[in-house]
Symmetry: C2
Subunit: 288 residues, 2 copies
């Protein structure tokens, strides 16, 4: 038989493309066990992490190096998700794979009395990464339109203004040289039930369990509504939300790694030129 | 021939024992290429790091967990050493092997104008780890009796008082529940020459080179004298100095890992008891 003409297939979506919450995005339509932009299984996904971490390490060091010579850029990773969605695992395995010297990690808890005296973005602004660093937020300013909205911790008029304030704030952050990668780890309520159950079954996990987690769980639909609103209002062209199906922990880790890598590649940091004369310094060193 | 009676051989020294600077310790007598408490070579040393990191991870999580239930302990690792002695590598590979959520890393640079307005221990105290964390100092208050002494950046009467102030400070830190592991990475001047040369040879390392490093190098004997004085005066029973031969990077990383592990094992943190009724929570979860 004669050779068939090859049909051109469209290029597969990147993680960045597949996970981006575009206008009209519907959280309810996401299969939390799916693995967008990835065809392989767990073993294949895990085997990619090492090589991806090596590429991130190179870019992270370049970002750090260029700042040492005066550049003014950094990167910010924001991680949100329901209890047990795997935020801690992202910190341990994805952030933990990077050089700690180049990381500025902040875990946001309920605001302290001192923090409450300031506008909600005050503590967020104080935690932004210095030039050359990768900032990581474990929870973030989005809690101020999530738990705060679900429980009406401030008047509706107050939290409803915050979406616009967040957009304006994030725009300033990006324009000042800090791209923002905003991730929601999305699990199903059944997956949360299984994970909370594991915390109750294992004495070495008891400390991670809080009876209030079950109270919060009862507000699941209200939380999903609040996440949908945060995505509707704050997934902008400049700072889109990425919704990562997270029932499979290995996939969530792979996806966040890929999103961080893509953002760093987009920044394309370069080894800085230095101001000294290399030959002269070689001579001085030889004589020393 | 009849069997010989087995002679009892003394147990090999632990890293903690072999590296501790005891009274009378002489820095000049240290072979910076030696590998105290370790018989194997590079490959054997490197293959130990994974299993040791797993033991540290378990203890680190217990330390973090007990603090969440009210315990008030933390650990502090202080890393000192001449330029190129491998402090950055310890941060990347040893500290980087731990969970970043449980790490509070501070790199001390020349004090800022604001810091200069305060006593030298002010910024150190502010960087102490919160309960449950492992604090890491890349350089430390010892710079105030090292570079400051070598260059007489303050009057001699001032820096000579600091040894006693440091001992009193460290005693308070330990007694408040924070053991301190104090490490000097000890390289030879020839090894430094080779490492500075590599920074000049590789464009991706140029940013790490500073012509002032060669100026500092010319003060090597004065620095060794200052280190010897810091060890003589501040290697106490409560907070000894550990001098780690560091010409072999793999050995220095193994040694610091072992010292941290031994300190954590000495603390023996336990999974905390929790105050809720597990059965009751299981029931609530099932109904949720």
């Amino acid at each position: 038989m004669a050779k068939k003409t090859k049909k051109s297939t469209p290029a597969p979506l990147t993680f960045t493309e597949a996970l981006r919450a575009a206008p009209g995005f519907d959280l309810r339509a996401v299969d939390t066990r799916s693995t967008p932009a990835f065809e392989g299984g767990k073993a294949a996904g895990q085997s990619l992490l090492g090589p991806l971490a090596a590429r991130i390490a190179d870019l992270q060091e370049r970002l750090y190096a260029e700042a040492k010579e005066g550049a003014d850029r950094s990167l910010l990773l924001v991680v949100q998700g329901m209890d047990t969605s795997g935020k801690g695992g992202i910190m341990r395995h994805v952030v933990g794979a990077m050089d700690p010297q180049g990381i500025h990690l902040t875990s946001f808890k309920a605001p302290s009395p001192q923090e409450r005296k300031h506008p909600f973005l005050w503590r967020i602004r104080n935690a932004l990464p210095a030039p050359g660093l990768i900032g990581v937020f474990d929870r973030s300013h989005y809690e101020d339109v999530l738990i705060v909205r679900v429980h009406d911790l401030v008047p509706r008029a107050t939290w409803s203004r915050r979406y616009g304030q967040i957009n304006a704030f994030e725009k300033r952050v990006v324009e000042s040289g800090t791209p923002v990668v905003k991730v929601m780890l999305h699990i199903s309520p059944d997956e949360q039930k299984a994970r909370l159950g594991e915390r109750l079954d294992r004495p070495d996990k008891h400390w991670k369990f809080n009876p209030a987690d079950i109270d919060e769980r009862l507000h699941w639909p209200a939380y999903m509504e609040a996440y949908q609103a945060a995505i509707d209002r704050c997934s902008t062209d400049l700072v889109p939300w990425f919704v990562v199906p997270a029932d499979r922990k290995w996939y969530a880790r792979l996806a966040v790694t890929q999103l961080v890598l893509a953002a760093l590649e987009g920044m394309a940091p370069q080894w800085p030129a230095v101001s000294f004369d290399v030959e002269e310094q070689r001579r001085r060193l030889a004589e020393s």
